[in-house]
Amino acid sequence: MSAVESGDLNARIVIAGAGHAGGSVAAFLRQYGHTGPIVLIGEEPLLPYQRPPLSKAWLKGEADADSLALKPADWYAEAGVSLRLGGTVVKIDREARLVHLASGETAAYDALVLATGARARTLDIPGADLEGVLSLRTAADAEQLKSALGPDRRLAVVGGGYVGLEAAASARALGSHALIIERESRVLARVACEVLSTFFQDYHTARGVGFELNAGVEAFEGADGRVTGVRLADGRTVACDVALVGVGAIPNDDLAREAGLDCANGIVVDGQARTSDVRIFAIGDVSNRPLALYDRQVRLESVPNALEQAKQVACPIVGRAGPVPEVPWFWSDQYDLKLQIAGLPYDADRIVVRGDIAAAKFAVFHLKGALLQAVEAVNAPPEFMAGKQLIAKRTPVSVEKLVDPTVSMKDVAA
């Protein structure tokens, strides 16, 4: 079986998953001049929307549903993108190049894009099914969380990752109490360095957020079917009105596995987002992809990653040169803090801090020898932007200049 012919503007495209990744493939294809039929199938009843604001601006009431939508409803009709919202792909027939939906409908493809995302990891402990024990992945989840927050409500967050910290910051802005329960000895243990963990914990503490570190969770306690508290491994129970479980996500790769595609912590793809079937692509949270810059295969959960891979798919289909290998990046907003991260600190052997941690304006640089691998910048856009450029360039960096506040980042990057 041959690949979808490059430059086939009439290729029939089916996209399974209508999140940020799936919606963006459709948009880029049309931007690049693709004219063939596109079918976009999503399980949620909503048009493709941005998820990052769900724990930030949206939760605080600073953004509405329209502003979250990637495109307004008319765009899909005008662009000839057929939506199957509330639709679930139950089977891929690779031989016939068809997907089967739960409704019984089928959709034929020349190229299939799997953008099925990831689902929230849940805790298999007593009380996990109580009302008020929530995850935060979808707009529906966010609605539930928002309706449970307000003045003097008590939020317990299980898991001190970005979602948990952002939700806690938003809860405080709404006048709620917030407690973060983390199994490790520090927050952001899996995703950030210790300097950053300490800084964020201190910043949240100063704004009234409580922390239980090194704390296992035994059970959720409830009354009349609704959560009333979280029982910790040491026997104590902390009271709450709502509990948010933010302990990571699991790639939705079942469909791909059943179809016999190579999977290993997500669907394994190459640098053009192709799976082990040349007509099937996988992008976004569900994919396990090569990162050229670091010579590694990783599964990333971020919007920039989804957009990058959406371009990787759309370009060859229309016969356009693919994007240059990117520096992965991430961001988070909490209170008045803007955290921007570029790169990933693989094999870093040295950490250099530039700026003033106490003034909440600093950056942590991760070096491997003289090469910059990653930068974590708090309210420090020049450090982030220059750092991102330095990571891409792969040229040695002068640490002496990097730590000298009198040398501008422009000069460091020059």
Partner: protein
């Protein structure tokens, strides 16, 4: 409502009616104007919505925040009339606005 003209680097023009209250970036993205990716959705975190504001409109689009300035400092192909379009709010006063897209976003 304001009529905004987005001119791509290759000269292609997109004239779009953008609702007041949205940003110039949102007006482009919601209508799938190529070249404005806005990876961060308007958080002033990525500089992928860079535009040049026609000189006649510069004063009306307001001042840049310190955050925007420092993001732009490191963007590609920056000119004195460079802005991040996610930081320009649309109002009736911007009816007729013309913005051009840089080569790096082509």
């Amino acid at each position: 409502m304001a009529k905004i003209t987005y001119i791509q680097h290759d000269g292609a023009e997109h004239v779009i009616d953008v609702k007041s209250g949205l940003t110039v970036m949102e007006g482009a993205v919601k209508n799938n104007v190529p070249g404005i990716d806005a990876d961060c959705g308007g958080a002033c975190a990525c500089a992928t919505c860079h535009v040049y504001v026609d000189d006649a409109w510069l004063a009306k689009t307001g001042d840049k925040s310190a955050m925007e300035e420092s993001m732009l400092d490191f963007a590609e192909n920056v000119e004195p009339n460079s802005r991040l379009s996610c930081q320009i709010k649309v109002s009736d006063a911007l009816d007729g606005l013309v913005v051009r897209l840089p080569e790096s976003q082509h």
